[in-house]
Amino acid sequence: MARAGVSGVDGRGPEPPEAHPAHRPVVGAVLVAGAAAVLAAAFVAIPREDVPLPAIARQALTASLPRWHLTEPVNAVVYGMRGFDTFGETFLLIAAVVSVVVLTRTREPRRGYIGEEAAAKEEREQIDPSAAPDATQREARSAERVERGEDRPDTPDAVPLGTPAPEDAEGMTVVVRTAMRVVAPVLAVCGVYLVTWGYAPGGGFPAGAVMLGVILLLYAGFGYRRIGLVVRPAPLEVIELVGAAAIVLLMLLGLLLAGSFTANWLPLAPPQTIRSGGTAQVFSVGELVEVGAGLTIAVFALLGIRHDWASDEDEGGTQQ
């Protein structure tokens, strides 16, 4: 941050005048003080902890057991009564995951001839192929070799400090890795427990987050290269869309069989059993698949951004 702040001030000469940040703390403080005053005035005046529950909350509490056989009203609200809202949220999540995937997409294997050879013929003829590479090319090639790890020593300890792309330390010590091997299955079972015993607090969203946590724990312990072999985007994307399709199908069957979108059409098992809740429980499992796979795709897409196309040399040049 210090570097960014300093460069904003130092770059006064070539920078356009808007870059001068001196007014910002003042303007920011005034605006924030205004927002704080409005928020404080509003928050002091709103109902506090001693008012009775609103009608919608009482409705949710009273309808949870008879209508959904769920002893957990939050789950009954999320996957039952406000199922349509959760349905929309599911696709908001998918939209966010698709954005991340599109933004972070790396080079893909070629799938067909698109004619670069013919298109670049003219330019190629202007360049002498036997000429020695100039400084820019040499720098770019050496950067590529570094990124591919070809110039690296065999062990991480031999890498000099300050080397770019610090992805050499492959994993943590054997103690940590062994502990993770023991803990990860237990945590994964806890995640599945959260979603299957849906009549107790839990559900698909927390369970999906737990699953992501297990994968991140393994990533922290074993390093990207080993986990990246298992956690690959292609199968995960299929899993996520299967989860989303299952949710759509579940909701549509409600429309066909029970008369309204998101309505329950499964027979309700007795309360406090795994299948109590009918479609709410299936929806919860669908959300586990959807959230777990979606967040894993998003996080690993970010972790997997490795290849860097811009060269270091044009720093400053991109601003014009």
Partner: protein, 122 residues
């Protein structure tokens, strides 16, 4: 004294807003947005709270109460807890999108200073 929670949520929100308004480092702006998100979680869960209440779970209600009796006021508001759950998931997904943009900006412009990212100007 749940109003203290409300005011704490307002304070966290303003902290995040100040960071977004005054910092030009994109990562810090994302952190500010995350703070603003987190303040809404605190606020929504605090609004759901009721004095001397329990969690909204109907498993073995005490004193042989029925769910209808529980609903008269001894539990927290489940609908607002649902809102919070929704907000958390959306917040995580949006933070991932922001960070992906930040990484791409850093790769393309070689800086995280939002003031220098102005190729689209004019």
């Amino acid at each position: 004294m749940i109003v203290v929670n409300y005011l704490a949520a307002a304070a966290v929100f303003c902290l995040g807003l100040y960071a977004v308004l005054t910092r030009r480092n994109i990562i810090k702006m994302v952190m500010g947005l995350s703070l603003m998100e987190a303040s809404t979680y605190l606020f929504v869960v605090s609004v759901a709270y009721r004095a001397r209440s329990t969690a909204p779970v109907l498993l073995n209600p005490q004193d042989g109460k029925t769910p209808a009796e529980l609903a008269k006021g001894d539990v927290a508001d489940p609908v607002l807890q649902n809102f919070c759950l929704t907000a958390i998931v959306i917040g995580v997904a949006l933070t991932a999108v922001f960070l992906a943009v930040a990484v791409r900006v850093a790769q393309h412009y070689r800086t995280l200073d939002a003031d220098k990212v102005r190729a689209m100007r004019g």
